[in-house]
């Protein structure tokens, strides 16, 4: 096995006696796109800062290219870092083009000016800010400044890039476009990317490897498919992707299927954590796998319900149902357009056991309750 590009071992960080990160262990391979995702306050930014050498851990180690970097300065670690707070990092007296060129000119090697300008143009064009090349950073919008910062880091072609939610402030259209660009840049450079975001949709789209965090600990490390289809805990299932959630306890185990006692009645589900009879936990049902009308007839779990409303979103339609016993609205998402001529009449919905996942393990931290998961 080759040496991982970045390895974090038993890392712990606390601020003013409050444990912010606890026993963090993971490795990012050379050339891998790793996305760390979690709700605000989960510790993901602190983790990135620890890798960058901007935060001193209480315990544990950070290895970069096989070398123990825990005590190295930020400079010695030689990483590219795109901050979320980027305002102070651009030089106000230089143009955008000069800002991007700055890092390259600082290198001891001779610079081929023509080659450099060509590279800058390519990067600025890719980030849709080529027309700002001769402008001063103060003339740019926040989103544009952020892209200049991104270009400044990308041009260094560092072996390892740390990115702190670089697309968070961009408007929707630009965000979608930049997601594709960032994917292809990472591919072209072959660098290792460690990228943090609160947007799980982006995480699933960009990552080779996803690390899901909650309350200072890692909940799961896996491919996007693993964290989406085989979540390790109820937290991961609820946080990554969309779900209807309800509390329940295990009534009966039948090989790989289980029956869960819930407010909606008994539900045949998949046992995600080898739960045993009487164990309680959370049941998650993905709206995209709940069928409606004729298609629901053959499902293992079926309900006669009334529709409360629907919203057609172009690629798909989301429908809210009133299901007896379910607290709140029960959601279904179907591809294309689903039109209701009338609401309030009875319609059948249904889902199979593989669409209903039962978790007896709520989280890796023991401070999470059923209610915390339901409210997520």
């Amino acid at each position: 096995m080759s040496t991982p590009d970045v390895m974090v071992e038993s890392l712990g960080v606390s601020f003013r006696n409050e444990q912010v990160l606890q026993d963090i262990n993971f490795a990012v391979e050379d050339g891998e796109f790793c996305v760390i995702v979690g709700p605000s306050g989960c510790g993901k930014s602190t983790l990135l800062q620890s890798i960058a050498g901007l935060t001193t851990p209480d315990s544990g180690s950070v290895y970069i290219e096989g070398q123990n970097a825990t005590k190295m300065s930020t400079q010695e670690r030689n990483l590219g870092y795109v901050f979320q707070e980027f305002e102070d990092t651009l030089f106000p007296h230089m143009t955008v083009g000069e800002n991007v060129a700055f890092g390259v000119r600082q290198q001891p090697e001779e610079v081929d000016e023509e080659e450099l300008q060509k590279r800058i143009d390519e990067l600025l064009e890719m980030l849709a800010i080529k027309h700002t090349k001769s402008d001063s950073p103060s003339e740019l919008s926040g989103g544009q400044q952020q892209r200049v910062e991104l270009a400044r880091q990308l041009i260094r072609e560092a072996d390892t890039m740390l990115l702190d939610d670089p697309l968070a402030d961009l408007d929707y259209k630009l965000q979608k476009r930049m997601e594709l660009e960032i994917r292809s840049v990472q591919d072209d450079l072959g660098s290792t990317f460690i990228y943090i975001t609160h947007n799980q949709d982006q995480a699933l789209k960009l990552a080779d490897k996803v690390i899901v965090m909650n309350r200072g600990q890692i909940e799961q490390i896996g491919t996007p498919n693993e964290v989406y289809y085989e979540p390790a805990t109820a937290f991961v299932g609820r946080f990554v992707g969309d779900s209807n959630a309800l509390s329940g306890s295990l009534l009966d185990v039948d090989e790989d299927q289980v029956t869960i006692d819930t407010e909606m009645g008994p539900i045949v589900a998949t046992n995600m954590n080898d739960a045993t009879v009487d164990e309680s936990g959370v049941l998650l049902i993905r709206p995209g796998e709940v069928k409606v009308g004729q298609a629901a007839a053959d499902c293992e779990n079926t309900y006669d319900v009334s529709a409360l409303g629907s919203s057609y979103m172009g690629e798909q339609t989301e429908i809210a149902f009133d299901v007896e016993g379910y607290d709140g609205e029960f959601y279904t998402i179907r591809p294309g357009k689903v039109a209701f001529e009338e609401y309030d009449e009875s319609v059948r919905i249904g889902f199979d056991p593989d669409a209903a996942q039962f978790f007896s393990k709520l989280s890796t931290t023991n401070t999470v309750s059923n209610n915390d998961i339901l409210k997520l």
């Binding site: 929707y172 993905r286 057609y312 357009k337 689903v338 009449e345």
Partner: protein, 397 residues
Amino acid sequence: MTISQDHEYTDDQNITTNRDSILEVNNLTKIYPDGTIAVEDITFEIAAGDFCVLIGPSGCGKSTTLHSLVGRFPVTEGEILLDGEDITDVETYKRDIGLVFQDFQLFPHLSVVENIEYGLSQINIKEEERESRIDEMIEVMGLEGMRGRLPEELSAGQKQRVALARSLVLEPKLLLLDEPLGDMDYKLQKRMERELMRIHRNMDTTFVYVTHDQTQAMRLGDQLVVMNDGKIEHSGTTDEVYNYPATAFVSTFVGDSNLFSGELVSISEDGTCANVDTPLGSFTCGTKNLDSPPKNLIGESIPFSVRPQYIEIGGHHENVLSCRVKDVIHQAGSGTQVIVDADRPGLPPMELQAKSHKQLTIDTDTVNITWKPENATLLERASVLPDIDLEKDILGE
């Protein structure tokens, strides 16, 4: 209950509803003292009880429109009718319109109940009526057990509900929401969107919501008013705006689109489809979004758009294009996005997107993409703005 699920669209979906309109905006213009024309001669109406979303890029005039409805400043020209009554020159507090801000702006020193009660104490209603309205709000918003809490003791979701309750308790004819979910975490935003729709369904109030986020607009809105540079590009139901966009701007701003441009060669005898010659080849398009087949444009350059979801990799539809596969993005839970390049003689390759809600496996370097004529939407013009350049301003080429 009847359910239809398809990608075919029937004519009756284009009929405008004849429900009463609660708001009419006629020929509204707002020019700021410095000469900036923020909104120019816009006209639209909103049906009573609808969830209407004003959407457009920053600087398009959507916030100015919202502020005109509230009466934050005098308008330059035009009139605003609320429930048939001209309110153009009526003072803000007499307008019967509620407003919810992005940061909610709750009174920090007042409890949940006091925040909700505040507006009621400014108007003359009986004690019992006041109590019963507050109780109803507490129930609809699910704020039982939080009556005495201060705003700082509430979660973001609860704050939103208090802000909504504070406005809705006054039973306004219109509730305006100015990007209230702008700064939230992705997950919380999605939850709050559902919450807003639930509350809207349980109230009779008409909602007008301003955002630049087109996914949010599609999800929340019954009706969309798409704005661009002070003008309305398209006002209609989400279905009309998405499937029958009025302009190329609308088709690219709301939802994803592959935008083509070419010469309109001919229109079929029955007027339902048209042939367009592009640098990529000749294609057949539907004309259903247009009022009448654009016979006057034969021989002229015209754009058309195809949504990625209507493009099939392989498939046997009438329009066929050979492309090189650039990127295949599988996204757990939402299918596959395919990015391809199509070669054009004498021009750089054109990037196109296809999207399927199924997981696709693509193991070749080149593919044929195909689509039905009725899923290609002929667009009469690039934008309502006269000086917009399709290639430069909309496609960014």
